[in-house]
């Protein structure tokens, strides 16, 4: 009796082990599929031209060289692309976090005429594909005299519907009594937003920050329609030209992938830094 139970227990343990082994191999395979292209990009950026053409998928450069990076720096407008990308991305990110949260707070807490309609419009905008808006955006930018300037590249990206939506939902989750308490303490609406609500909204702000940074850093279509002079080229525009434009002669894999690799670094760093900052900051505010 006890013997047979022991045997069936052992069988169950074995079955569980086999099951988890299968799960892990599946997950591992999936991870490899996702990571592999990135690894190839990084490795290739350290290869020589002939090596990269002959062994495009090998994981060890023969010989390893940083000449592609030197070349990027010397031959191309790479530093200028980085500068433009930084200017645009940082302006967009900081202003977007501020404006999204302001709009989100107004929609979440203030009572004003047309609030429902405003929110409905924002949700509707989220459903429109960005491509549809490219030409109208171009026309408006040109009409406002912002074409081929930083303004034209930055201003249209300053507020995004998804960000407003996220902020509104987050603000609604903050207990009203905390804000009422601040009102009784004598704080103005902006003071409540700035000193009470915004610090409590850190998880949502971090989310918007990452999304905005990543979004504007990787943005391409908007920069194509908003500027044409090479002096305003961003990283995305520059790398796209490396891959397809007049510079696209020959394979030049190491050069293109060196640029791509450098381009991913800021976003990757951002994710690693902020991933730990996302935490529950409302602990202790109210008794649940």
């Amino acid at each position: 009796m006890s013997n047979s139970r022991a045997r069936s227990d052992a069988r169950a343990v074995r079955r569980r082990r086999v099951g988890s082994a299968m799960t892990y191999s599946f997950l591992l395979a999936l991870a490899v599929v996702y990571i592999f292209p990135f690894v190839i990009a990084v490795v290739t950026s350290f290869k020589t031209e002939p090596d990269s053409t002959a062994n495009p998928l090998s994981l060890t450069p023969h010989p390893a060289t940083t000449s592609a990076f030197h070349q990027l720096y010397e031959d191309q407008d790479f530093p200028s692309w980085v500068k433009n990308s930084l200017i645009v991305t940082l302006s967009v990110t900081f202003l977007r976090v501020f404006l999204d949260s302001l709009a989100g707070y107004a929609l979440a807490r203030l009572r004003f005429r047309g609030r429902g309609a405003a929110f409905a419009t924002i949700v509707a905008v989220m459903a429109v594909p960005g491509v549809v808006l490219l030409i109208p955006k171009f026309l408006i930018i040109r009409e406002f005299g912002m074409y081929d300037t930083y303004y034209g590249m930055i201003v249209p990206l300053l507020v995004d519907a998804a960000g407003v939506f996220i902020m509104k939902n987050f603000f609604e989750s903050i207990p009203v009594s905390v804000e009422e308490s601040a009102r009784i303490d004598g704080a103005s609406i902006f003071r409540i937003y700035w000193s009470i609500v915004l610090p409590m909204a850190r998880p949502a702000l971090v989310t918007i920050f990452i999304l905005s940074f990543q979004g504007s850093w990787n943005e391409l279509a908007h920069f194509i329609i908003s500027a044409q002079s090479t002096g305003l080229d961003t990283l995305t525009k520059g790398v796209a030209q490396l891959a397809s434009g007049q510079l696209g002669s020959g394979n030049r894999y190491p050069l293109k992938l060196a640029a791509s690799t450098l381009m991913t670094i800021p976003v990757a760093v951002l994710f690693f830094v902020f991933q730990r900052r996302i935490m529950n900051v409302t602990a202790g505010a109210v008794k649940e």
Binding site: E180, S181, I184, V281, G284, A285, K287
Partner: protein, 402 residues
Amino acid sequence: MAGITFDDVTKTYGDGFRAVSDLNLEVQDGEFVVLVGPSGCGKTTALRMIAGLEEISEGQIRIGERVVNNLPPGARDIAMVFQNYALYPHMTVAENIGFALRMRKVPKAEARRRIEETARIIGLLDHLDRKPGQLSGGQRQRVAMGRAIVREPQVFLMDEPLSNLDAKLRVQMRAEISRIQRQLAVTTVYVTHDQIEAMTMGDRVAVMRRGLLQQFEPPQRLYERPANLFVASFIGSPAMNMLEGSLEREGDALMCRIGTATLALPAEVLNARPALAREVGRPIAVGIRPEALDMPGRHDGGDGGRLRGRVQAVEALGPEQLVHVEIDAEPVLVEDVLEGLVNPDEAGDLVELRTDTDGSRATIVGRLDATASLRPDEPIELAVDLRHLHFFDLGSGEAIGA
């Protein structure tokens, strides 16, 4: 310091719901007033109207001499303690307490002094640099109190500040809040649904129901002379036994019949309530507090009435015991009574529970001392203290001759 006056204050919401109707209330300077009632009675709405968090639909609220109807909350010189504490989670205890001072641009040194003094009063001097998340429930509650105290406001408003604490801590904090309030002598309005809190803390207690003020008096008076069936049922634990009865005249004396029992009312009862004479022959509600019942032959001198029944259950409480007795009488199960016992949503369940056995049998509760030996299912005879009976009109629910 200042008093608070409600003049015909009404609150109507957009959907037409009247949360508070024609409320007239005068809170004296330095007084501790408790607003109490079941959920949905309008007590919190009334409090929030004083705070300025809820607009006043009609009427006027004054703090001191000042009409505050259109003043924003920050300009009313009030401080409020919320049920969920509503602390600022990203600020330390000191910053939480000092936030209102910062908003009022109190000089730094002065603010520091007041924060420390407040921390001493609430016993959190060693915790000034902690964040609310690192504090226990009781400590958070103290911070919420501290935030109110540091302001030195004209009025304290408290919205069920103890309902999130466990039972023991609640009793302790009850005494603490009373002590602090007496020490600072600040006019206080305190909202609770717990009648024990109301009775133990308030200088005066305002009982509310469905947006209407039922009675506004000191706790003891509320207990001894409830104005109507609702207040009688709501105040006191265990609740007042409410039985249907009728009055009959026998010569000069007035007899009160409850089921099969007849109680001869002493002359002093009739003298105190001459209006009782007009109720002869009509059904009325008779209220008997649990402590007005006793084992016979102890204090009643043998001349009082008796109620006979069968013991259903005995709850030993240490120094005393509660005995549940089923007697031959009709319980009063009108809404006024039921809502006083439980909140309105559950009133229906209670009717079922009480009438399940038999419509003409009522269960009453007596509070007896621990020496009487009682067993379930045994017959029992209880003496009724006839001088402490309560009489109510069954139709209007009003106390007769109160």
